[in-house]
Amino acid sequence: MAGTAPPPQGRPIGDSQVEGGAPGVVASTTRTTAVRASLIAGAASVLLVVAIVLGSRLLRDFDSALVPYAVATVFLTFGVVYRYVVWVSAPAARRMFVQGWKAALSWENLKRSPAALPKMIATYLGFQKFLGARSHARWAAHQLIFWGCLLAAAITFPLTWGWFTFTSASAAGPGYEMRLWGLRLFGFDSGSFLGWALYHGLDLAAVMVIGGAGYFLWRRMRDRAATTGQRFGYDFLPLLALITISVTGLLLTFSEMFLHGGGYEFLAILHMASVVLTLVYLPFGKFFHIVQRPAAVGMQLFKYTARRKGSDDQELQACKRCGQPIDTVAAVDNLRATMRDLKLGFDEWAEYCPRCKRVLRGTAYLSNVKRGFK
């Protein structure tokens, strides 16, 4: 809608300002948030560095060949925490954040339904059932990417921090021991299936990720729902990054097994660069949904526990006009408070269901603007 709206008619529009207060106040609020976010993010990064130093037994187990990866995770921590703090400082997210944690940490909720939270974490974050309701193919592809990335992260992050080490059990035998922070976790035979799976865990993850990301890339080029409004940096870059990491990672294995290490150093640098750039990009683009998604669990738990209070029907807000349930009373109150925070002066309308809002407007148009047929 290029162009400007017609001049104000009747009532001035000044009473519907978007931002509260004077511009100076808004700027200083933004600055305060940025300072707070920087401090918290800085503290989190320092904490990670300390954890790396301690976990690698004062760098004794730290693999210096993996320094770029470890440094990237420190940057990643700063970026993610900074972005997270800025995100939950906005009115809508802040209120939902508080309500979600209140529901999660409530002793009463835990006593009444101890399984609710773990169940929601499993369905929303683990198996992502809601994606299946959107499309089965997308669910399958996303599960491949999700478990692949999780497996890869579980292997590589502790390795680059020097938390995992592998030592031989004896001087002669094929036995190996896996250690965390220097403590023995378990021993295994390097020739066994477990040994094979441990060495090739990342290859398995790469195959899963390539399958999932490949499907999404294909969809981005063919599906017209996906192509509408898609942006290279937001929609394509994450997929290309995942595929680059996976392919260069697999090529490392290929070089080792079939080329006697030919081109290994070049491939290692290529792989390292793609991983580091992806980790640094993570807080800013599509990947930030990984950090945001737990909010779905908080939101759902908040609504679920509000509905369970007292009898079922009492805690649902009924539309003031037609009586149909809108949402839980707590959710509507939370929304109205958010709207007041944002200086949206029509939070009273939230007490009506969407259809009644439209019907009320239609009725007012009929009686006030253009008389219809009687």
């Binding site: 809608m1 290029a2 162009g3 400007t4 709206a5 104000p8 008619q9 009747g10 009532r11 009473d15 519907s16 978007v18 906005a90 009115p91 997210a93 209120r95 939902m96 929303y124 809601f130 309701a133 959107r134 017209r224 729902a225 192509t227 509408t228 409004g229 945001q292 998604r293 909010a295 939101m299 003031k320 006009r321 009586g323 959710a331 958010t338 709207m339 944002l342 949206l344 002066g345 029509f346 009273e348 309308w349 009506y352 969407p354 009644c356 809002k357 439209r358 019907v359 009320l360 239609g362 009725t363 007012a364 148009y365 009929l366 006030n368 603007v369 253009k370 219809g372 047929f373 009687k374």
Partner: protein
């Protein structure tokens, strides 16, 4: 003045549902209609009202402002897009905050959906599906000059009053030429319409 946008004239709407069917064909939400067609005084008048997203400009997109997941993007051309499926957590804040009653939600899929002005079409200069098929011109896509050339004497309004708040929008409604006050967004304490009590609001139907 306004650029190319939708102009809604409920006075011309015959409630034929052609827009609802056409909306279903839109590529960005195949099989699901995002337009609402309501009959405000059903059984007493044949009046009907089509509702598309009004693409609020001031305050800019209340739905996006109340979104806790930053899922609703407003493109540079002022079009308020449907929720980004990657981010939407399905909390329904937007559904209940929108004063026009526009967004829909799929609670199973944890996904909000709404009219995006047929972005797959309008971004290439084509008219939205609903305006393309509307047989009476209740939904008109074009500039205000094109509208007035066809309909002398009409004016348009992008100002909607919700209580004391006026919301200005990117999609306009047709009003009689002499009108200078915002279009009412609805009267919450409305007891009677055409001499009959409205259900709710303290009065029995």
């Amino acid at each position: 003045m306004l650029g190319r946008t939708i102009f809604i004239d409920p006075g011309r709407c015959i409630g034929c549902q052609a827009c609802v069917s056409a909306c279903r064909e839109c590529d960005s939400h195949r099989g699901k209609s995002m337009i609402h067609l309501d009959y405000p005084d059903e059984g007493h008048t044949v009046a009907s009202l089509p509702t598309v997203c009004m693409h609020c400009e001031d305050p800019v997109a209340p739905c996006a402002e109340v979104c806790p997941a930053e899922a609703i993007l407003i493109t540079a051309d002022g079009v308020v897009q449907e929720a980004d499926p990657t981010r939407c957590i399905g909390c329904a804040n937007c559904v209940n905050a929108c004063p026009f009653g526009v967004p829909k939600i799929d609670l199973e899929a944890k996904l909000q959906m709404k009219c995006n002005l047929c972005y797959d079409r309008t971004s290439y200069g084509l008219a939205p599906m609903c305006a393309t098929v509307c047989p009476t011109g209740a939904l008109f896509y074009g500039t205000v000059e094109e509208l007035q050339a066809e309909r002398p004497g009409v004016d348009v309004s992008t100002m909607f009053a919700f209580g004391d708040t006026v919301v200005s929008t990117g999609v306009a409604m047709v009003v009689p030429g002499e009108r200078r006050t915002p279009v009412p967004g609805g009267m919450l304490n409305l007891i009677e319409v055409n001499g009959r009590p409205t259900p709710g609001n303290g009065a029995r139907a």
